[in-house]
């Protein structure tokens, strides 16, 4: 407690507790400290006294008699004609790709009994390499979202596709052939087929205009894509970039970054990572040396870097001590590394900053090795496009549009420009919206067509590096949805086409030889023959450093795409809503992040609603104190406050688009902040971020790599005989980027329920693996430590000892088995678990029996009922499946044959699972590294999951 907490002003790297504690508040209550908050009891809506009594009676009757009545054995229904696949119960994997802001990420989709159940990375795809990010894992849930749009709507009323086609034909026939003034709005896309279809449409209707809109930043700099190879970098400079976490190539980048941070055979050639950013990002907080700076201040520092690199001795002018130390060390290391120096800028940075940062690579010599330019893969700068949403607004306002066609985009929410002309859209002679949800834009358009999920239709996309993939469906469209390809074809030709034919037409085009053979290979591998442009040339010569003004700019606001729901498109995905935001651990909300010192200056604490006025816009959002946030900068993510997202996303969070500038910039200077006196309940899954002097996350210096070894432990007991496989896991904290992909992979694999904001606020989140975050050092610029914590599978498991019914016992292979159907729910095991990795079904968290969400469930994992404890078991269903295969063939299980879901998803390969009894296994090699340690080793629980300490490569200070 206070005995161990430090003076917040001291810059000593002491480990400290929550922000509330720093401010002298003992209460860590997530809702602002009310000891017994009103309405904390449980009475679900729509349950009156009568039905309560009915249910009570029924439950007593069932409880009393259910045990003594024989259940029906049910029916068994064989096929009339047996299917081709003799084993429909066995998972099959199909290659396809998930769209990531229009780019492809190759995936393999697991299908059991004909329904897609889980997404894995495609090892053959360059932007997946077998791994995924969290958003990719969550994409499977969208398929089964009950809120998805199911029928065409005309003015909000149910209609049909045929009526739509007829009405469109009528619209066209009322105008001279080909003269209809059609406006087509899409997101920037890499799909060759869609671009071809759009092209054909523009050909067919000379007056048609094509606009492209996305609220997110373009990945292009002057028409080219910067691309990085972190594995070749010795020194990395990130300028506000989050490219290891949120980028079409983030998996590849994370893999490359991890290569430079991994201890192998006791050695490491560690990269050194510098970051300068205004708000902590998943990528930035990994930096060995990190400097928070507000957007205007960043420009000053970049100017200093530029000067220092040029050898201008006056570079220190106007810098603070911390800043000049940062710049000095950075410049020294960048010059020393030359070709191995990599500079990366965030996409949300102003274009001059991105240009300058990219040009540094050319100056330092890393262009061609760690850095390269790629030709554009996305249609951002397509010649036929007439501009973005602003251009469309002008066109509508100018009367140049008779028919508006919005494809797979939601501009009525995401475009500040278009929000203003919604009444005008409603008055157009024809307007149609294609989308997975009857969302905000659907409400503005006369027609709404349900869109097919990408697992329901054919398509094609290019990856960031240009690799093309054919997207194949895993399931018939559940709600008769259409793809954008099909809609464009309907609009152009009036026929009701098939996406399969459209995609094949595009790819057959101009192709010689045996097309079917190639097509089948593309579909099977998930990677089409590469038509990617090779590395492009640098766009221009030397670039001047971003100019900066010297006057004090005051407070600035930094908008950012949300780490989970992006621009709001995933707002109705409950997995993503409940997945803690990587750094704040916030769920089901966004918040205005303020630095600790700004918070005390404004007099606000977590949950106080503040009003931010910026350039005429106004947004009110609850403040959340974020250590490491630039002092004069408030950050808030977009994508919340939606009103037609669906039952999950409606009304969640605060709509930061209200202050988004029309031109799509992300930083706003000179904002005004006032307090409102109101409070909002912010819910986090973790609310104590200090490490309390406990050795839970260990760090080692890259030079010495010395970790104190614990004394050998002896036992009076003989211990249990261990023969056969001994499962174990190693988690490398040095390569872990803290992205939470493991959390969602586990959720998808193990049927983990979503419990909602209220239950999380009561401390009842269900994730089996969590990513702990700790802050260490000065609150305004701490070191961030993250640590994924699954069940440790202790050999001396404390949980097992106290279970009265033996529902959790050890397996012969060292698993801490959890037998759901034996559990009576005393929760004693959770109390006795020092790692608190056990999760309890306090209420019935299962979806209703008839819910469509159940189709996603993994049939090989029991869906837990109310009152049952659950936890990670190293994906024992996968172990069993592999064992059955191996036993049938009378061979041992091969190393790497079993991948746990978290391991499989991890982009950084930080998690390795395997047989520790086999000294040649990968996990044994990991555990033999000098940086291996057990969490809470002193308790002698002997965990099978151990960690590799986080390697820091801070280097010496400039002086």
């Amino acid at each position: 407690m206070a005995a161990t907490s430090q003076d917040p002003g001291s810059s000593a790297p002491a480990r400290w507790r929550s922000i509330g504690e720093l401010n002298g508040l003992a209460n860590e209550g997530r809702d602002g400290g009310d000891e017994f908050p009103p309405g904390a009891s449980e009475w679900p809506e729509g349950l009156d006294r009568r039905s309560f009594l009915k249910r009570l009676g029924a439950s007593l009757a069932l409880g009393g008699l259910g045990g003594c009545m024989r259940r029906s054995n049910g029916r068994i229904v064989p096929y009339v004609i047996p299917p081709e696949n003799a084993h429909p119960e066995r998972p099959e994997y199909y290659a396809t790709a998930v769209p990531v802001e229009g780019y492809a990420r190759g995936i393999l989709v697991e299908s059991i009994l004909g329904r897609p159940t889980k997404i894995e990375g495609n090892p053959d795809h360059p932007e997946s390499l077998g791994a995924t990010d969290a958003a990719t894992q969550a994409a499977i849930l969208d398929l089964y979202d009950p809120d998805r749009s199911r029928v065409p709507l005309r003015a909000g009323l149910t209609s049909t596709r045929e009526v739509f086609a007829a009405e469109w034909a009528q619209f066209l026939s009322a105008r001279p052939a080909g003269q209809a003034r059609i406006a087509l709005l899409t997101e920037p896309t890499t799909s060759p087929s869609l671009l071809r279809e759009v092209g054909l449409m523009l050909d067919a209707f000379p007056n048609a205009l094509w606009f492209q809109h996305t609220p997110l930043a373009s990945y292009e700099v002057d028409g080219l894509q910067p691309d990085y190879d972190f594995s070749k970098a010795g020194v990395i400079l990130s300028v506000g970039s989050d490219c290891l976490y949120r980028h079409p190539a983030c998996v590849r980048y994370a893999r490359g970054y991890a290569a430079g941070r991994r201890v192998v055979d006791g050695r490491i050639a560690a990269s050194r990572f510098y970051a300068i950013e205004s708000s902590p990002s998943v990528t930035g907080v990994l930096a060995d040396v990190r400097l928070p700076a507000s957007p205007p201040r960043m420009r000053v520092i970049m100017g200093a870097i530029d000067k220092a690199l040029l050898g201008n001795s006056s570079w220190q002018a106007g810098l603070g001590a911390q800043e000049s130390d940062f710049v000095g060390r950075l410049a020294r290391d960048l010059r020393a590394n030359g070709q191995r120096a990599l500079c990366v800028a965030g996409e949300e940075q102003p274009m001059d900053v991105r240009r300058w940062t990219a040009s540094l690579n050319g100056r330092l010599g890393s262009e061609g090795s760690a850095f390269r330019w790629l030709a554009s893969a996305r249609s951002d700068s397509n010649q036929r496009s007439r501009g973005d949403a602003r251009a469309l607004r002008d066109a509508i306002a100018g009367g140049a549009v008779e028919a508006l066609v919005v494809l797979s985009s939601n501009p009525a929410y995401t475009s500040v420009a278009l929000r203003g002309v919604i009444p005008a859209i409603s008055k157009l002679p024809f307007s149609v919206h294609l989308g997975a949800y009857a969302d905000e834009t659907a409400g503005a358009c006369a027609w709404h067509l349900p869109e097919a999920h990408f697992l329901e239709c054919w398509g094609d996309l290019r990856a960031y590096d240009g690799t093309a993939s054919v997207l194949q469906p895993l399931i018939e469209p559940m709600w008769n949805g259409l793809s954008a390809l099909e809609v464009v074809r309907i609009l152009r030709s009036g026929t009701l086409p098939d996406s399969y034919q459209i995609v094949r037409e595009c790819w057959r085009d101009g192709a010689a030889g045996d097309f079917d053979e190639r097509w089948n290979r593309w579909v099977r591998l998930g990677v089409a023959d590469s038509r990617a442009a090779a590395g492009a040339r640098a766009p221009r010569g030397p670039v001047a450093a971003p100019d900066s003004s010297t006057e004090a700019p005051g407070l600035s606001l930094l908008l950012a795409p949300d780490s989970n729901v992006l621009d709001g498109r995933s707002a109705n995905n409950a997995w993503l809503q409940e997945l803690p935001r990587p750094l704040t651990r916030l769920v089901w909300d966004n918040a205005a992040l303020v630095s600790p010192s700004l918070a005390s200056r404004l007099g606000v604490e977590d949950g106080d609603v503040i009003r931010i006025a910026a350039r005429g816009g106004l947004v009110e959002a609850p403040a959340l104190v974020m250590p490491g946030q630039a002092t004069d900068c408030i950050a808030i993510s977009i994508g919340y406050g939606r009103w037609r997202a669906g039952s999950v996303g409606n009304g969640v969070g605060f709509d930061a688009y209200q202050v988004r500038p029309d031109d799509g910039t992300w930083g706003i200077e000179g904002i005004e902040v006032t307090t409102t006196g109101r409070r909002h309940r912010l819910v986090t899954t973790q609310h104590h971020f200090a490490i309390e002097g406990r050795n839970t996350v260990r760090t080692v210096d890259a030079v010495s790599l010395v970790l104190p070894k614990p004394p050998p432990r002896t036992s009076l007991y003989g211990g249990w005989p261990r023969n056969g496989n001994a499962w174990g896991m190693s988690i490398d904290l040095s390569t872990c980027i803290g992205c939470s992909a493991c959390v969602l992979a586990c959720q998808a694999e193990n049927n983990i329920p979503v419990v909602g904001k209220d239950q999380v606020s009561r401390g009842r989140e269900m994730h089996w693996i969590r990513v702990d975050k700790y802050f260490e050092g000065a609150p305004d610029n701490p070191r961030f430590l993250s640590e994924p914590v699954p069940c440790m599978q202790c050999e001396n498991a404390p949980c097992e000892l106290v279970c009265p019914v033996g529902a959790t016992v050890h397996s012969s292979e060292g698993l801490n088995d959890m037998v759901y159907n034996r559990c009576v729910g005393t929760r004693y095991c959770s109390n006795n678990c020092p790692y608190k990795v056990r999760r309890f079904n306090f209420l019935n968290y299962r979806a209703p029996a008839d819910s469509i969400i159940n189709l996603q469930k993994n049939p090989n994992v029991t869906v837990r009922e109310r009152g049952v404890m659950e936890k990670c078991t190293y994906c024992v269903q996968r172990i069993n499946a592999a064992r059955i295969d191996a036993e049938r063939e009378n061979r041992p299980i091969r190393d790497g044959e079993i991948l746990t879901a978290c391991q499989q998803a991890c982009p950084a390969e930080a998690i390795v699972f395997g047989n520790i009894a086999d000294p040649s296994s990968r996990v044994s090699a990991r555990k033999a590294e000098p940086t291996d340690y057990s969490l809470l080793e002193e308790l002698n629980t002997r965990p099978r999951t151990t960690y590799l300490a986080k390697v820091l490569n801070v280097g010496e200070t400039a002086s």
Binding site: Y717, E795, N796, A797, E800, L801, G806, H810, R942
Partner: protein
């Protein structure tokens, strides 16, 4: 109340004359004497040379059996068919863990068997008794001390019994029939 005599009852108002009456009846040669008192009277058992009750030995035996059974049950549960379960890496024969239940079941069986034995030895439950019909017997549970010379005594005649009891100064003497 059918004719056969049960015995002769004398009621006393205090312990001293009650004990005195027993002694006097014994002196008169009666050996089959029973008493009915509102509480346990010290000296009564010695005077009547009652055998020590076996309740304590029964309880001891029951307790040992219960404890041994409890320990065996736990031992059996962890060794069930050589199917040994690894619980938290602890040894199979975690005998210290078995002590509490062994103790509890020792106490439980001793208490239950002892109580049953007491009832059995005392001939309870017995709802009917010749004395229940007799006048004034309700005072035996309140404030009177009753001495009864039983009819089964070979020397018993109503008159002899009355003569033996009267010298102690009873408040009342009554003949009771079955």
């Amino acid at each position: 109340m059918s004719g056969a005599p049960f015995g002769t009852v004398a009621a006393f108002g205090d312990e001293r004359s009650f004990l005195d009456a027993i002694a006097k009846a014994q002196k008169a040669g009666f050996r089959r004497i029973e008493t009915f008192t509102p509480h346990n009277v010290e000296g009564e058992a010695a005077l009547l040379r009652r055998r020590p009750t076996p309740v304590s030995w029964i309880m001891l035996a029951a307790g040992i059996l219960g404890g041994a059974g409890a320990f065996y049950m736990q031992w059996y549960a962890v060794h069930d068919f050589r199917h040994l379960i690894d619980v938290g890496g602890r040894p199979v024969d975690s005998w210290p863990s078995f002590i509490p239940i062994t103790f509890e079941l020792t106490v439980l069986t001793a208490a239950l068997v002892g109580t049953a034995a007491m009832l059995w030895l005392a001939g309870l439950p017995r709802l009917d008794h010749p004395l229940f019909g007799s006048a004034g017997f309700e005072r035996a549970s309140q404030d009177r001390y009753l001495v009864c010379v039983l009819a089964e005594d070979p020397r018993y005649t109503p008159a002899a019994a009355r003569d033996a009891l009267l010298p102690a100064g009873p408040e009342a003497v009554n003949e009771v029939t079955k």
